[in-house]
Structures are given as C-alpha cells and as structure tokens.
C-alpha cells in the first residue's frame, strides 16, 4: 500500500465521518441492540451477585478455572449450530433468536424460584442460560447483517455490541443500587432480572422486523440440507476468515486469567476483579461504534489484526512488571476494551460479507464455534501450563504464540485483502 493511497483514504474518511447518513443504522439494529442490552442487564445483575461467580473468578485452582472457563465458552457449541441451522432452514431467524431469548428468560424465573436454595441448581440453570445465548447469537447476527447494506456491516455490529456491552456494565450497577437501597433483598434482584429478561423478549417482538428475503435466497433455502452445515468449509472465501478467527482465539489468554494475574502481581485484592470486568465493558462500549465505522472504511481484517496488537499491549500492561496499581489495571482494561471493539463485532462483519444470505446464520455459527473451540483449548492449555510450569512460563508462551500469529496474519495480508474489501 502506498503512502499516497493512505492519504486519499484518510481524506475520504474524514469527509465521510462528517456525513450523518454514514452513521445512521436501521431500526432493526437498534431493536436488537436494545434486546441484547436488556438481556445482558438481566443476566449480569444476577451473575455479579452469585457467590459461585466470585469463586469462579478468584477461588479455584488454575486447572479447574481453565476447565470452568472453557466449558463456559465452548459448552453450548451444539446449541449454536442448532440455532444457525434452524434459522437458515426455516428462514425464521427472528423466531429462532426469540426462542433463545425466551429460554434465558425462563431460566431467570428458575433463578427467582430457587434463589438461596442450592448452588448446583443455579449452576445448572446458568448452563441452560448459556445455551439460550448460543441458540440466539447466530440468527441475531444474521438479522443484523441482512438489515444493513454491506458497506455498513461493521458499524451496525458496532452499534449492537456497544448496546450489548452497556447492558453488561449496567447489570452489576443496577444490582449494586438495589442491594444498597434494600440490603439483603436478593429476591428482588432475581425478580427484577426475570422482568428485565421478559422485557428483552418484548423488545425483540416489537422493535425488530424480519427482513423480507430476496427470491433467490428463497430458492437456495429449499436446497439447504444438513450437509450445508459444512458448507462454510468448502467456501474458499469463508475459510480464511474461519482460520484467522480460530488461530487468534487459540493464542488468547482468558480474561479470567488476565485479571487474576493482574491483581496478584499488583498485590491488589480479588475484590477488584468484578470491577475489571465492568471497566472492560465500558471501554468496549465506548469504542465499538467508532471502530466499527473505521472497519467499514479501511477494511475489517486490518482492524481485526490491529485489535490483537492492542491485546498484546494489554498483556504488556498486565504482566510487564509495571506494578503501578491502579494505572496498570486502567491501561490493561482500556486496551482489552479496544481489543474487543476491534474483534467481536468486526469479525461478525467480516464473516457476514463473505457468507451467502441463505447460509449466513450457520456460517456465523461456524465462525463463533471456531472462536469458542479456540478459547476452550487456550483456557485449558493455559491452566495446565500454569499448574505445571508456573504463570511466568504460561504467559511467555502465550505471548510468543500471539506474536507469531500476528506476524503470520500480517504476512498473509495479500491473500486476506480479498476478505477485507
């Protein structure tokens, strides 16, 4: 790429950014954003008060933590495929996504009924809740991608992810305020969580319209069989995206580990860990829309790769020996938020561009699965290495691997530009 080329691009970018129409996203995106926000408020307000949650983030041995994080990430994979397949075969993406949201809402009712009884029952419900989440993710992203024109995909996903992250940040705050005003009233939190989850389903029903499908897609749908589940592998345009996403996920250290090591090395208490999650969500929601806009202009792949450079810097802030608490934590959280803004919605945007409309939900489920499997393996491997060889070696190994994948991604840019543009 020539310097002059960049200059032209930057000039275009600056001119475009002042045009309000570039920032306008369809109402479906907002509707799904509101739905996701309410659902996240509902789940996070409960998760933030669950004692099991604190144990998970602070009290388990690294190997157990690795397995738990891995199951959390990778467990509901089957549900993700099922969701994608159902949505594509029936063409009723809204209904499929809606059933996922409804499943989670029913779990909230279970939480309310069981509140304060048994931890195992609640843990089981958390898993069902995660399955609901897996079920709805692919059809929801498919609706978003089908609601906007291709040049606006990353911006739309940015808007959606920002609202989603806002919900994740708001949930614990809401729980905190409720507990502060009504000490000991955990039942009110469980009840409010259920009501907010139902409100999320209502938002989906009222604020989101299924995009009418082009006739061509209709014809495709009839031919769609279970073999098409693997279509994503056969598609030469999709494969690089799948490989890119999975490769990066494999060398990513789970947030749980990053936060745990960060507070340990800074001699700060474990009570800061929930705040680090919230901080990352806030940074993510602040950056998601502008980064998405940028990705639509300069190419999603470049932004996605750049995001992992931010991840590398986040590791440097967390593990680099700068024990200037809390500034190392602030830097780490801001960089992690930037990484999520560059990767989460942007990846969905890249994948949506290359996936045909008829198999888009299944394809998105595949990409999500690639990321999940990658993270599952990474969490378990990191836990094992930490237990056997110590945290320093584990961090060094993963950081080195991340640098290698980054270099490889930059080196193969020429083949990847087809994906990005």
């Amino acid at each position: 790429m020539y310097a002059g080329d960049w200059l032209t691009r930057l000039t275009d970018l600056a001119r475009d950014a002042r045009n309000p129409r570039q920032w306008h996203v369809p109402s479906n995106v907002w509707g799904l954003g509101v739905t996701s926000m309410l659902t996240d408020v509902s789940s996070e307000m409960v998760l933030s008060i669950l004692p099991a949650y604190l144990v998970m983030t602070g009290g388990l041995a690294p190997l157990a933590l690795g397995v738990a994080a891995g199951v959390h990430e990778g467990g509901p994979m089957l549900a993700a495929w099922a969701g994608g397949l159902m949505a594509d075969r029936s063409g009723r993406r809204k209904l499929t996504a809606g059933s996922g949201y409804a499943l989670s809402a029913i779990c909230r009712l279970g939480w309310f009924a069981l509140s304060g009884r048994t931890i195992t029952a609640i843990a089981g419900l958390v898993l069902v809740d995660r399955m609901g989440k897996a079920l709805r993710t692919a059809p929801r992203d498919a609706i978003i991608s089908l609601s906007v024109r291709p040049g606006q995909l990353a911006t739309a996903f940015g808007v959606h992810r920002a609202l989603d992250a806002a919900g994740a940040a708001l949930g614990p705050i809401l729980a905190f305020v409720l507990l502060w005003r009504m000490p000991g009233r955990y039942d009110v939190i469980f009840f409010a969580s259920f009501v907010v989850a139902v409100l999320g389903v209502v938002a989906l029903a009222l604020l989101v319209d299924e995009t009418p499908e082009p006739a061509a897609a209709d014809a495709d749908r009839i031919r769609l069989s279970s073999r098409d589940v693997f279509a994503a592998f056969g598609d030469a345009a999709v494969r690089p995206v799948l490989i890119l996403a999975t490769a990066f996920a494999l060398v990513t250290i789970s947030d749980a580990f990053v936060y745990l090591l960060l507070v340990q090395r800074s001699h700060a208490g474990a009570q800061w860990i929930p705040l680090l999650y919230t901080g990352t969500s806030v940074a993510f929601l602040a950056l998601a829309v502008p980064v998405g806009y940028l990705a639509d202009r300069i190419g999603g792949r470049a932004v996605f790769v750049f995001g992992h450079l931010l991840l590398l810097l986040a590791y440097a802030a967390a593990f680099g020996g700068f024990t200037v608490w809390p500034w190392n934590a602030v830097a780490c959280v801001a960089l992690l938020g930037g990484y999520y803004a560059c990767s989460d919605g942007v990846l969905a945007g890249i994948a949506s561009r290359v996936l045909p409309a008829a198999t888009r939900a299944v394809g998105l489920a595949w990409v999500a699965t690639g990321v999940s499997v990658g993270r599952l393996c990474s969490a378990i491997v990191f836990g094992v290495v930490w237990t056997r060889a110590g945290d320093r070696i584990a961090v060094t190994a993963f950081t080195t691997a991340l640098v290698i994948v980054l270099c490889a991604a930059i080196a193969t840019r020429s083949t990847g530009t087809a994906v990005a543009s």
């Binding site: 009504m182 000490p183 000991g184 009110v188 409010a192 139902v198 938002a203 319209d209 009570q271």
Partner: protein, 336 residues
C-alpha cells in the same frame, strides 16, 4: 421499519416492568435473618466506652443475640461477671498497652471488604487498614507500638494445595505498614533461604517490639523463625512449629504442633534456653488457635469441645487439663 405504535407499546412495557418490580419489592416482606429471631436475651447490656483499668481480657462475643460479634471485655478476676460490650465488632482481636487491632470482614456492601482497625483505649478508631484477605491472626507487641496482621490470601499461590497467607507488620501510631514478612531475608543453617511459596503467619513479639517469632511454611514444612523487624531478617530455628506465642518473661513458647498421623494440632511448650519441647494436656482434641498467655503459667485459646465452645485456659505444666473459662467467646487477648 417497525410497525407504527410498536415503540410506544415497548415504552408501556418498560413502565409496566418497573412497576412490577416496585410492587414486588414493596408487597413482599423482607426475609428475616435467623439471628434476629427468638433467643435475643432480655438481660441488660453493659456498654462501655473505654477499656477498663486493671487486668482484663478482650475477646469476640459469640453468644447468640444482638451483641454477637462485638468486642467484649471481662475482668480477669471475675470472668463470670456480665460481659462489657465495646462499640466495635471484630473477627479477630488483639490488644496491649492501650493499642488494639480489630480485624473485620465488612459484608455490608456488594463486595466483601477485609479491614483492620487500629483502636485506642477509648475504642476510637485511629487507622483503617485495607487487608488483602480474610483475617486469621492478630498480635500487638507488648509495648503497643507495633502490630502484626495475618490474612488468608487464597489467590496468592496456586502452586500447591491448601491456603496461602500474608503477614504484615504495622506501626500503630501512624497506621503505616512497616513490613511484609515475605520481603525479609531468611536464613536457614547459616545460608540464605528463599522459595516462591513462602507463607508466614502467627507472629509473636518480644518485649522490645522488634524481635519476633513466626511460622514459615514452604514445601509443606512449617518452621519456627526468629527475627528482627528493624533488621528485616529472620532465621529458621526448628521445624513443626505453628502459631508460636511467647511467654511474658520471654523464656517459653507455646505453639501448635502439627499431628503426624491425623489432621490437627497439639499444643506444645518449648523452652527457648534448653530447646526442650513437651506436650500440654489439652485432651484428645485438636486445637487450632494462636494462644495468648493468661499469666506466667497458663495460656488461653479458643476451642469448640463437647463441653462447650469458647475460651479455654490451660496450664503449661503438661499435666493439668484445660477448663472452660468463657463460653461463647473467641479470639482472647489478655491485657495486664
């Protein structure tokens, strides 16, 4: 585009949701905690505003009722008299020469906070120190100028099973942290001794407030170390010693010796001049506490025996069995 009126309908649904939560919160009765149920004694409570003169014992009140968890005081001469209740609640207490430490788990907020208060003779909090884990041991030096605080820090080392601890020493007058024992230079058999899994706990101070004894655990071994806070160093004296407590005259140490055949501890007394140790007659029970010296010949500690849970007193002669001094009491600190 969404149907006309859909957005208005959604706003109505939002309002209905807020209303539903509010109605639920107001109409359902708050769930009552078990401690505020029956059992609250009607006996008058003797509230005090300062530590009484004369030989006293401070402890954590553990009788069920509204005073549960409060710092309480009895005169050593009349332990059966009604307990005097101080305006502090503590998990772990120690006190000497007008300076006290009160370690607490503050569970009122969403996040549990672990704190240590440095208080004076009038129970006024002079300093509040944030702790990195839940309190387990507290000790104020005989002169009152320093205190050692030990917390459980679960997430400190996962390299092996079980717990990990952190022990810090503070200056009581300023509230400043003077030392973290893990930063000290440790010596064993004349050579430098260092490992990443060092855990210290159970500090006991000599009369000068500088010399100290403590437990060091590494690789599953538990050592008695002796050192100096000012010199920031310590040396390993012997193995199989936990939670040492130095006698007022500085000649004896009573400690928990880990049992080899089963899980638990047996109290032993060590003569520092001769190096001879012998078991105390604590009975068939395991005792898990850092004892405090009641006088020159007896120690006090918490135990939950079948005869009663509370503070027991045990002569160090190795023959006399323990007797229950204060039922429903915890964390004794004797101040003469």
């Amino acid at each position: 585009m969404t149907r006309p009126g859909a957005r208005a309908l959604f706003l109505v649904a939002c309002a209905a949701a807020i209303l539903a939560v509010a109605v639920y919160a107001v109409l359902t009765p708050p769930r009552v905690g078990p401690e505020s149920a029956a059992g609250a004694a009607d006996t008058p409570v003797d509230l005090i505003a300062s530590v009484p003169e004369g030989p006293v014992m401070l402890f954590r009140e553990a009788s069920p009722g509204p005073m549960y968890g409060r710092l309480a005081v009895v005169q050593l001469s009349r332990p059966d008299a009604p307990r005097q209740i101080a305006p502090l609640s503590c998990e772990r207490i120690h006190y000497a020469a007008g300076w006290g430490v009160c370690m607490v788990n503050d569970e009122k907020g969403l996040l549990v906070r672990h704190l240590a208060y440095v208080f004076d003779r009038a129970f006024q909090i002079r300093h509040t120190i944030a702790l990195t884990g839940s309190p387990i041991r507290a000790r104020v030096a005989p002169g009152g100028r320093r205190a050692a605080l030990t917390v459980f820090e679960r997430g400190h080392s996962y390299a092996e099973d079980g717990f990990s601890t952190r022990t810090t020493v503070i200056d009581t007058a300023s509230g400043r942290q003077l030392a973290d024992l893990e930063d000290f230079a440790i010596e064993k058999d004349g050579a430098a001794f260092k490992a990443i899994d060092f855990n210290f706990w159970g500090v006991t101070f000599a009369r000068d407030g500088d010399q100290f004894f403590a437990t060091l655990k590494t690789h599953g071994e538990k050592y008695l170390v002796k050192g100096s806070i000012d010199a920031r160093r310590a040396a390993v004296l012997r193995a199989d010693v936990e939670c040492p407590s130095l006698s007022p005259d500085g000649s004896l140490i009573v400690f928990k010796k880990p049992l080899t055949r089963e899980v638990g501890w047996h109290l032993h007394v060590l003569d520092l001049a001769t190096g001879v140790e012998r078991p105390l007659n604590q009975g068939r029970r395991s005792v898990d506490d850092q004892v405090d010296w009641f006088d020159d010949r007896q120690v006090v500690y918490h135990d939950s025996a079948s005869e009663g849970t509370g503070i027991w007193v045990l002569p160090v002669d190795g023959v006399t069995p323990p007797t229950l001094l204060l039922p429903n009491a915890y964390s004794p600190a004797v101040a003469r």
